[in-house]
């Protein structure tokens, strides 16, 4: 039952290697407006995973030919700092980073009201400062906050979290140790206020029933994550209001 390489991943009491219950998130920390130059920025931490996101735009791109006549073009870069991983990561973008940049961009496309800004680009830069599992979901959450912080009109906020399957048990928000031994990893990103799942992947083997149960766990948690996002944005605007 989830015991590989000498590591007990789920105890007899049903607790995880770090003491969490199956449906428990790691400690989540969110902060917005953490950078000076960017139009919007956010730092989001899920346990040991730390991700910074910054937004520039809407602005005119240097390469004029990439604009669209009827809406803003969204550009997203998901990138890992060389010191963010166990072994030093080369700063050149890996195939994994290329794929995740696309997956995160497509998870944001439907919430950004890009029709309001034709002939511009909106740039979202995501930097993973420390990777301990769930970097794409943490990155998507940070990107959503940074977009809101930049004042870009959004249909809804997006939150994200991964569900893992370990020794047949579904667990929420898996960390790197768990991910290494999981039978499946299912990252989910959603905008609960408009009822849409905008990021969805499965890596591993699951039954249809497990997928359904995992989706429930993830969506439930995402509601709480998006509530936290709202709280953080509210307190920022409160703070701004006070000045």
């Amino acid at each position: 039952m989830g015991k590989k390489g000498g590591q007990v991943l789920i105890t007899e009491e049903g607790l995880r290697h770090d003491g969490r219950r199956p449906d428990e998130l790691r400690q989540v920390r969110m902060e917005v407006d953490v950078l000076e130059n960017a139009d919007g920025s956010a730092l989001v931490e899920f346990g040991g995973t730390k991700v910074l996101a910054a937004v520039y735009g809407p602005r005119e791109p240097i390469q004029k030919y990439i604009v669209l006549p009827d809406k803003a073009v969204l550009r997203v870069r998901y990138h890992m700092a060389p010191f963010s991983t166990s072994e030093r990561k080369s700063p050149a973008p890996s195939r994994r980073e290329v794929e995740l940049s696309k997956v995160i961009r497509e998870a944001l496309e439907s919430v950004v009201l890009s029709d309001l800004y034709p002939r511009t680009v909106i740039d979202v830069f995501i930097e993973v400062l420390q990777a301990d599992g769930g970097t794409r979901t943490t990155g998507l959450t940070a990107a959503s906050l940074a977009l809101a912080d930049a004042g870009i009109p959004l249909r809804a906020l997006v939150g994200a979290v991964a569900v893992g399957k370990i020794g047949g048990t579904l667990v929420l928000d898996i960390d790197e140790v768990e991910d290494n031994y999981a039978e499946a990893d299912m990252p989910v990103g959603a905008a609960p206020d408009i009822g849409l799942v905008t990021l969805f992947q499965i890596n591993g083997v699951m039954t249809k029933e497990e997928v359904a149960k995992g989706l429930d766990m993830a969506l439930n948690a995402i509601e709480r994550i998006v509530e936290m996002e709202k709280e953080v944005l509210r307190s920022k605007y409160a703070r701004v209001g006070e000045v």
Binding site: Y65, I66, V67, L68, D70, K71, A72, V73, L74, R75, V76, R77, R95, R96, V98, E99, S101, K102, V103, I104, R105, E106, A107, E109, S110, S114, A184, M186, A190, A191, I194, G195, L196, V197, T198, L199, F200, Q201, I202, N203, G204, V205, M206, T207, K208, V211, A212, L215, L219
Partner: protein
């Protein structure tokens, strides 16, 4: 950096209306119903120099897969396993929108989704690919070559990869006293050991409709697509949402059901092709 596609012609809304209208009557432009893939043709052994190969047509979409098996070094953390590597090229002869150059995000996504779907379920028995543990293993290269693009590259590519792998043979080798391994390309040790069969089913969401195996025109008017990888036991062995829009919780359930059901068509096509080959 991933960028909103800006070279794609804007689809006239009238076209989308036409399609939606058809869907509402359970029909499609090519006379299929919503949940049936296009005609599948699978030919194997098309490149004799490869260890395995297949040419798959899915309607007008054509994908070639070639399997080459070379000697190499195992990954450090898996000294007792061979290596499986999937690579996809969107060669420019396949579409007016493809350009020469290194794989773009679409080609990389395609290769990685096929790769993960094979890898996670252990489709190829990597432990059977060890020559000398920790030192020399077989590297299985699966190269996907898109020759004609009329939509749904995922399903066609996965069928091609699977057909090429299941008809691939492992080359023999000679080991010299120096430890050097020479591949005897003309002699075979027997078939490559493939433990599972995987297909993907791609559906597109267009308005409120979910349709199986979209054509290029249908992809252009779709809101999003879902690629569901299924093995011969009906388990989900991979999944990728792709495209700009989202799904409701209820739509996700429908997509899974439709995909699991449609997967049987692909399994049947594969079986028949391999039996013919057999």
């Amino acid at each position: 950096m991933s960028t909103t596609p800006f070279k794609i012609p804007i689809v006239p809304s009238i076209k989308r209306e036409t399609y939606l209208n058809l869907y509402s009557r359970g029909l499609r432009l090519d006379n299929r119903d919503l949940y049936t893939p296009r005609r599948v043709e699978i030919e194997t052994g098309v490149v004799e120099k490869a260890n395995g190969s297949a040419l798959v047509s899915l309607g007008n979409t054509k994908v070639m897969a070639g399997v080459k098996i070379e000697v190499g070094t195992p990954f450090r953390d898996t000294p007792d396993q061979g290596v499986l590597t999937v690579h996809a090229e969107f060669v420019p002869l396949a579409s007016p929108t493809f350009e020469p150059g290194p794989p773009d995000e679409n080609a990389i996504e395609l290769a990685r989704v096929v790769d993960r779907s094979l890898r996670e379920v252990g489709a190829v028995d990597l432990s059977s690919l060890v020559i000398r543990e920790g030192e020399k293993v077989w590297i299985v290269w699966v190269d996907l070559y898109i020759l004609d693009h009329d939509g749904n590259l995922f399903d066609a590519s996965m069928l091609a990869a699977m057909a090429a792998l299941k008809t691939a043979s492992l080359p023999d080798y000679e080991e010299y006293e120096t430890g050097e391994i020479e591949v005897l390309r003309d002699k075979s040790q027997g078939p490559l050991k493939v433990d599972h069969t995987v297909v993907t089913v791609t559906t597109a969401k267009i308005g409120n409709y979910i349709i199986v195996d979209p054509t290029l025109d249908e992809e252009a008017i779709s809101d999003a697509r879902m690629v569901v990888a299924v093995d011969e036991q009906g388990r989900i062995v991979g999944l990728q949402k792709t495209g700009p829009h989202g799904y409701t919780r209820e739509e996700l359930e429908r997509v899974l059901n439709i995909s699991l059901s449609a997967s049987k068509v692909y399994f049947k096509s594969l079986e028949e092709a391999l039996a013919r080959q057999g």
